[in-house]
Each structure stands twice: as structure tokens, then as C-alpha cells.
């Protein structure tokens, strides 16, 4: 008997290290950078939303692979005839990862924590998306444990889509009260994966939630690791140290597609990459100058050459995958002669000097330095001397999103990734004059009263056909005014171990592993 114990102990020791190594039910994801926060209400960047998504649910969820809305923590909902009151019927028997029950109070807490400055837990974070997501909310009323009513100040068509965004995730009130501002490091939700551990700079570990209301995921552990260098991330996938990666360098894509044991998945992205003019300052307050720059840049060469087809040429400010897209709107073709002519008409026959701000990287920015160097070369051909200034991403955002009278920007580049699949989330937030920074993201300081009127009307109209018409008209006016040079819509590309089955890319760019299986 004693011998047997010794033998067993010995065997256990032999097996133990193997068990600690990578097992078949784990997916290790290589992210572009470290998540900033795991509190879904505070997320503004891709790395955080990707690492946090699996731990949370919202009342309404996006379907797998699309922005169609399906029941989440609410099993059904009704909208009053005046479009002002939304009543949600909540799923029963759902528990947060800390064991506390999910109910109407948790919904009220999750929304009011963000929008009510007098809420006792409002100071537990900074909620950058609160105004966009819930700015129109007047009050949240608990009807009973499983019914909640949200009353709006005015009708707001994209409201349901907003309720599926990460900022609308339902968090455990008990955990927020327990951890305070540290909730961002101890996230507790109702999602398919539970938080285990976050070692900053190394990894975020999550494990499957056995009590998940939609069934326990087959994948038992998901680990998110920041690997900053694109080439290093790719090398780790090839070496088998990562199972799933983002941002494959465009020039490596062909080679990666041919690799054994690795598969590549692509999908047109809900994304746009664009050059922004400061339309309130000379010389770009003249639409002819903005059009001239549009004509001067060979956008197709940039997409085919630098991006190697990892994006599609933008014809419009709105990506074609978003409803309301106007296919009749066409981007300015490459025509340097026309560009020079327009510059001469505008009083700049010999061009001018301008500063072009460029970030070194950043989510959705693709290859900013290479793309801008090409843009700089095209501009020099029509006499515009663009001086490039590079900034680190955080500094860059701070410099770009300031009031118009403070802004030092002349020309810069930016990208936008849709949050909820609604055109409002592109056109209104990026181009309405009500959304000039710091309130929104219209850093072109573009203002066209007719466009403003159309976009506002589309927000308060609930009929999709009417909204589509309004948005189509707005796109025509915007492209004619040329506040931007839209360059491309990035294709979402991920590469993964080919044993990962059933993964679907989502237009919002987050990863969902709850329905994924791993072939043994």
C-alpha cells in the first residue's frame, strides 16, 4: 500500500507540469496592446473591449456575426407609441459571477452609475461613452424585480442598438460597491466567461462560467496577452504560443494564408480611415481646397500598394456594411490636374505649406506613417508641402479632441470603428456640428446646417425607410463639402489555430468564444 502511494505521488509529479502547460480547451489571444480597463462602462479602446466582452451581457445583444439585435439579459421589450418609454422584461434566475442575483435594480444601477453625477458610485470611474449611449435617458424605473422601464427625453431611434453596446453592459452592483474604483481590475458580470486574474503587461485570464444562462461554453479558458509588435505576435502564432491573433501585417498575409495549421478569417469591417481637415481655418475653410486635396491623392494606389488589399477603397464616409449606405455617392477620383486647377481657383496656384499630424499607431489606424508618407508625396506633386508630425496615440488623441478655438490642427488622420451598426454612430457622431469636440468626435469642425438638420431628424424618426432617405441625402451633401478624404474601410482579419471551430467575426470587432469549439 505504501509503495502504491509513493508510486502514485511520483506519477502525479510527472503529470502535473504537463497539466499546467497549454491544454486543449484553452484559447490564447494575442492583442495589439494592454487593456486599459475591464470595467465595460469605462472602455474606449479595442483591446479593453475585446478582453472584457466575454465577461458581460447587456439587456439586448448583437447576434453572432451581425449587428442584428437579439434578446440578452432581457427576454423581450416593448416601446411605447410615442417612442419615449422602453419596457424590458428581464431574464429570470441569472446570477452574477459573485453569486448575487441579476435583477431590475442591477440594471438601474448600471445605467445611473454612469449618467447621474449624484449617484454614490459615480466617482468609481470615468464614463466617456455615457453621454453617447444614455444622453437621452430621462429616468430608469424599477417596476418589479424583473421589469425595468427606461424613459427618454425625446424619441431616439438608435436607442435599442445603443443598449447592446459595451457601455450598456450590466455589472454586479455588489462588486462595484465592494471594489469601488478597483472594479476595473475585478470585473464581475453575467457573461459566459468569469474573470480569474489580470497580470498587467502579461495576461488577462478568464474561465468558463458553468452557470451561464445560455449554457457553459466548451472553451474552458481564454487568455488575452498583449503583444505589441505585429511581427512578434505573428511569430508567436506560428510557434504555437498564441492561438488567435489580430493585425496581421498586410505584406505577410499571403504567406500566413499558406501556413499549415493556421487559418485566416476575413470580413468587411465597420470601419473608415480618413484624412481630416480643420474646416474652420485657412486654407481648408474653402471647400475647393478640400476637394483639390481629395483629387490629388491616389487612394486606390494606397489601398492596393501599402494595404495590399486588406481594406476596400472608400467611396463614402459611411462603410457599405452599414445600412443607410448610399451606393450612388462616389469618392473623388485621382486627378492631379483638376486638383491644381481647383487650387488655382481658390487662390493657391503655387500650393501652400501645411502640417499633417500622424499617430504612430492606434486601433483602426492600419499603417498610419506609411499611408501618410504616401499622401505627403501625392500632395507635393500638386504643390502642397505637408510637414508630417508624429505623435504617440494617447498624446495624439489629446491634441485632436479639443475645442475648435484651442485646436492647433490643420490636417490629421483618424479612423472610426462602428459601435452599434447604426449610421447615426458614424454620421451624427462624426459630422454633426452638435458633436464638435469635446462633446463628440467631429474634429473636422464641419458645420453644414442642412446636414445637421437631416442628421437630427434621422435621430428622432423611428421609421427605417425614412431614416435611410435622410442618411442618403446627408451623405451626398457631406461628400460634396469634402470635410474629409475618406481612404478605405479596413477588412477585419484574424489568424487562428485551425482547430478553433465555429468562430464568427463580429462587425464591432469584439471576439466571442462562447459558441466556439476546439477540435481535438
Amino acid at each position: 500500500m505504501r509503495k502504491l502511494v509513493v508510486l502514485l505521488t511520483f506519477l502525479t509529479l510527472l503529470i502535473a507540469p504537463a497539466a499546467l502547460a497549454k491544454d486543449d480547451n484553452t484559447i490564447i489571444v494575442g492583442l495589439q496592446a494592454e487593456p486599459v480597463t475591464l470595467d465595460p462602462h469605462q472602455i474606449t479602446d479595442f483591446n479593453s473591449s475585446r478582453a472584457a466582452k466575454g465577461m458581460f451581457n447587456s439587456l439586448v445583444e448583437f447576434a453572432q456575426g451581425s449587428t442584428d439585435l437579439v434578446p440578452g439579459l432581457a427576454t423581450s421589450w416593448e416601446v411605447s407609441d410615442d417612442g419615449l418609454t422602453y419596457t424590458f422584461h428581464l431574464r429570470k434566475g441569472v446570477k452574477f459571477h459573485d453569486g448575487t442575483p441579476f435583477n431590475a435594480e442591477a440594471v438601474k444601477f448600471s445605467i445611473e452609475r454612469q449618467i447621474d453625477p449624484n449617484h454614490p458610485y459615480h466617482d468609481t470611474g470615468e464614463f466617456a461613452y455615457a453621454d453617447f449611449t444614455f444622453g437621452m435617458v430621462k429616468e430608469v424605473n424599477v417596476i418589479d424585480d424583473y421589469t425595468v422601464e427606461i424613459v427618454l427625453k425625446e424619441p431616439f431611434a438608435p436607442f435599442l442598438a445603443n443598449m447592446a453596446m459595451h457601455s450598456a453592459s450590466i455589472v454586479s452592483p455588489t462588486a462595484v460597491k465592494k471594489y469601488g474604483a478597483d472594479f476595473s481590475k475585478h470585473p464581475v458580470g453575467t457573461g459566459p466567461f468569469k474573470f480569474v486574474k489580470w497580470t498587467p503587461g502579461v495576461e488577462v485570464i478568464q474561465e468558463s462560467n458553468p452557470d451561464y444562462w445560455d449554457g457553459e461554453p466548451e472553451v474552458k479558458r481564454v487568455i488575452y496577452r498583449p503583444v505589441l509588435e505585429d511581427q512578434a505576435r505573428l511569430a508567436e502564432l506560428e510557434a504555437g504560443k498564441l492561438d488567435f491573433i489580430v493585425n496581421i501585417p498586410p505584406d505577410d498575409l499571403d504567406r500566413v494564408k499558406k501556413l499549415k495549421g493556421i487559418k485566416v478569417q476575413e470580413q468587411p469591417g465597420m470601419h473608415v480611415w480618413y484624412v481630416v481637415f480643420n474646416t474652420q481655418k485657412e486654407p481648408f475653410n474653402d471647400p475647393r481646397v478640400r476637394q483639390a486635396v481629395n483629387y490629388a491623392i491616389d487612394k486606390k494606389a494606397i489601398v492596393d500598394g501599402i494595404l495590399q488589399g486588406t481594406g476596400v477603397l472608400a467611396e463614402n464616409v459611411l462603410p457599405p456594411v452599414v445600412w443607410g449606405y448610399n451606393p450612388n455617392v462616389k469618392n473623388y477620383p485621382y486627378d492631379p490636374v483638376k486638383a491644381k486647377q481647383l487650387l488655382a481657383e481658390a487662390g493657391y496656384p503655387n500650393g501652400f505649406k501645411v502640417t499633417l499630424w500622424v499617430p504612430e499607431g492606434g486601433s483602426g489606424m492600419q499603417q498610419p506613417v506609411a499611408m501618410c508618407t504616401a499622401i505627403q508625396a501625392y500632395l507635393s506633386m500638386v504643390g502642397i508641402q505637408a510637414e508630417i508630425q508624429q505623435f504617440e496615440w494617447g498624446t495624439y488623441l489629446d491634441k485632436v479632441f479639443v475645442d475648435d478655438y484651442e485646436s492647433m490642427a490643420e490636417m490629421h488622420v483618424m479612423s472610426w470603428i462602428g459601435d452599434n451598426g447604426d449610421p447615426d454612430n458614424f454620421l451624427y457622431i462624426l459630422l454633426s456640428s452638435e458633436q464638435w469636440p469635446p462633446y463628440g468626435f467631429n474634429e473636422a469642425f464641419y458645420k453644414n446646417p442642412e446636414v445637421d438638420r437631416l442628421l437630427r431628424q434621422a435621430r428622432v424618426t423611428s421609421d427605417v425607410v425614412k431614416r435611410t432617405e435622410l442618411y442618403k441625402k446627408a451623405q451626398e451633401l457631406i461628400m460634396a463639402d469634402a470635410p474629409w478624404v475618406p481612404i478605405d474601410h479596413e477588412t477585419q482579419i484574424v489568424a487562428m489555430d485551425e482547430r478553433i471551430q465555429g468562430f464568427k467575426l463580429h462587425p464591432t470587432g469584439v471576439f466571442r468564444f462562447e459558441k466556439v469549439t476546439i477540435k481535438k
Binding site: 509588435e229 505585429d230 511581427q231 505573428l234 501585417p249 505584406d251 505577410d252 504567406r255 491616389d298 494606389a301 494606397i302 492596393d304 500598394g305 501599402i306 500622424v358 504612430e360 499603417q367 506613417v369 506609411a370 501618410c372 508618407t373 504616401a374 505627403q376 508625396a377 501625392y378 510637414e387 508630417i388 508630425q389 508624429q390 505623435f391 504617440e392 498624446t395
Partner: protein, 306 residues
């Protein structure tokens, strides 16, 4: 310390004669130095590389086959040996050879100017601190200590936050960081020199402090400063390339070795020459300045006299 003693004997001579005699001495000092340097084959190799690189840099507009900023998006990432592009093309279809030549111009100029700026201020501060001593010494050397403890990238980020990114600002940042190196060398030598007879004699003759500092102390510390500066050029080129690598230095489309290396990193699998070639260029020029600096140090060291 041979030359010092000889100078010290000049105290009984009229001022004018002492000066001209020292000039002869100085000239007389450099000839054997060059002769000894010539015997050091590594130093000669270093000097040779430097001459070639500076020659190419000066003649860049003539020898460079293409405009270094000419973009050709249809001919990207061509390997070395491609027809028309001896060293291939980069991610924007620009000729790598032309960019290396023009990049040498930028890198070497930045290295040399950064050293000159650092040397100017460092020598001046070192002279004052060493010669006057007391409160001057304490204040200057504590500031120098603070500078030494300051990481140059952090200082560069601060300067760039204030004045915007660019090569000139990066150069200013690395020159400021270079100041302590010279200040400390000069101060150390001056501390011992100022007690020597020939300096005491100048005091006795009523020479002004400035005259003593610049006419009598400076020439005697200059050989060690020259050695330090030669070794430092390599470091400065590396630092400038490092700053550009981080995006704090040269801005696109400027061809600069650090920038080229940084941009090439994205293509290391498909076009390794984009990062290897500028890396090699940095390596060569830094090595060359170090070989020359080492040779100069040996040649100037009186203890190694045969």
C-alpha cells in the same frame, strides 16, 4: 605630463614669447600623434570609413541614383539586386541606396553637431566649475549630476512635448544630455592643473581669469576632449537614430537611418534588407568613430611614447 612642465618654465619669459613658444609646442605635439595614429591600423580603418561616409554624405545630390523621397507604390519591397535599384526598394517603393546615402548625411550631421553643442557647453561649464571652485563648482556640478541622472529619452519627450517632434529638437535633447560628459572631464583636469606652477605664474603676472582659462587651461585639456568627442560622435549617432526609431526624431519623409530601421521592422519577414541595411550603416559608422577615438586616445597618451 611632459608639455605642462615645459610650459611651466615659460614663467620667466615675456608673455609674447611664452605664447609663441607654446604654439610651436602644440604643433610639435600633433605630428608624432598623427605618426603614431598612422601605425594603428584599426584607427586608420575607422578614419577611412568615416572619410567614405562623409564623402558620400557631402556628395549625396551627385552620387544618389534617385530622389530619396520619390514614392512608387507599384514597385514596393523589391529585394537588393533588382534592376535599377541596387539595394532594392522600401515599403513605399523608394530607392533604398539613395535613402541610405541621404540618410548618412542626416545621421552624421546630427551626430557631429550634437557633439559640438554638448562640447561647447560642457567645456565651458567644466572650466568655470574647475577653475573658480567654491559655489560655482557646487552649483554647476549638482546641475550636471541631475542631468546625468536624467534618461535622455525622457528629456527628449519633454522637449518634444514643448516644441513638437523633429530632428533639431531631438538633437538638442541629446546634446543637453551629452554636456555632463565633457563638463566632468574638463573639470577634473582643471582641478589639478590650476594648482600647477605655470598657472600660479599667470596669477603672479596678473593675467585675467578668462585669459588663464582660455589661453592656458583650455589648450591643456583639449587632447582629452578631442578623444572624448570622437568616441561620443558614435554614441550621438546611435542616440539620434534611437530617437528617430521611437518616432521622436526625424519625421517622414526624411531619410534617416533610425527611421529606416524602425519602418523596416514591419517587413522583416518579407523584406529583411529594409532593416538590415540601415542597421549595418549605423553599426559601421559607430564602429568607425570608436576605432578612431580609441586610436587617438592611445596616440595622445604620453605614457605610450616609445
Amino acid at each position: 605630463m611632459e608639455p605642462e612642465r615645459e610650459q611651466a618654465t615659460g614663467k620667466v619669459l615675456p608673455r609674447g614669447r611664452a605664447w609663441s613658444e607654446r604654439e610651436e609646442k602644440t604643433e610639435g605635439m600633433w605630428c608624432p600623434v598623427l605618426r603614431r595614429l598612422w601605425k594603428d591600423k584599426f584607427a586608420v580603418l575607422g578614419a577611412g570609413i568615416i572619410v567614405v561616409i562623409i564623402g558620400l554624405a557631402v556628395l549625396a545630390p551627385v552620387v544618389s541614383p534617385y530622389d530619396p523621397n520619390q514614392v512608387d507604390l507599384l514597385n514596393r519591397l523589391k529585394p537588393p539586386g533588382t534592376e535599377g535599384h541596387l539595394l532594392g526598394t522600401d515599403q513605399l517603393g523608394r530607392d533604398v541606396l539613395s535613402r541610405l546615402i541621404w540618410g548618412g548625411r542626416v545621421s552624421v550631421a546630427v551626430g557631429v553637431f550634437a557633439v559640438l553643442i554638448a562640447m561647447f557647453f560642457g567645456v565651458f561649464l567644466g572650466l568655470i566649475a574647475g577653475y573658480f571652485g567654491g559655489a560655482f563648482d557646487i552649483v554647476i556640478m549638482r546641475v550636471i549630476d541631475v542631468l546625468m541622472a536624467f534618461p535622455y529619452v525622457l528629456l527628449a519627450i519633454a522637449i518634444i512635448a514643448a516644441f513638437g517632434p523633429g530632428l533639431v529638437n531631438a538633437m538638442i535633447a541629446i546634446s543637453i544630455i551629452g554636456i555632463p560628459y565633457y563638463a566632468r572631464i574638463v573639470r577634473g583636469s582643471v582641478l589639478s592643473l590650476r594648482e600647477k606652477e605655470f598657472i600660479q605664474a599667470q596669477h603672479a603676472l596678473g593675467s585675467s581669469n578668462w585669459r588663464i582659462m582660455f589661453r592656458h587651461l583650455l589648450p591643456n585639456v583639449f587632447s582629452s576632449v578631442i578623444v572624448a568627442a570622437t568616441l561620443d560622435v558614435g554614441w550621438m549617432i546611435m542616440a539620434a537614430a534611437g530617437m528617430s526609431f521611437l518616432g521622436l526624431g526625424a519625421q517622414p519623409p526624411t531619410a534617416e537611418w533610425g527611421v529606416m530601421l524602425s519602418n523596416g521592422r514591419q517587413f522583416i519577414r518579407v523584406a529583411p534588407h529594409l532593416s538590415l541595411l540601415p542597421g549595418l550603416a549605423i553599426f559601421l559608422v559607430v564602429l568607425a568613430f570608436n576605432l578612431l577615438g580609441d586610436g587617438l586616445r592611445d596616440a595622445l597618451d604620453p605614457h605610450l611614447k616609445e
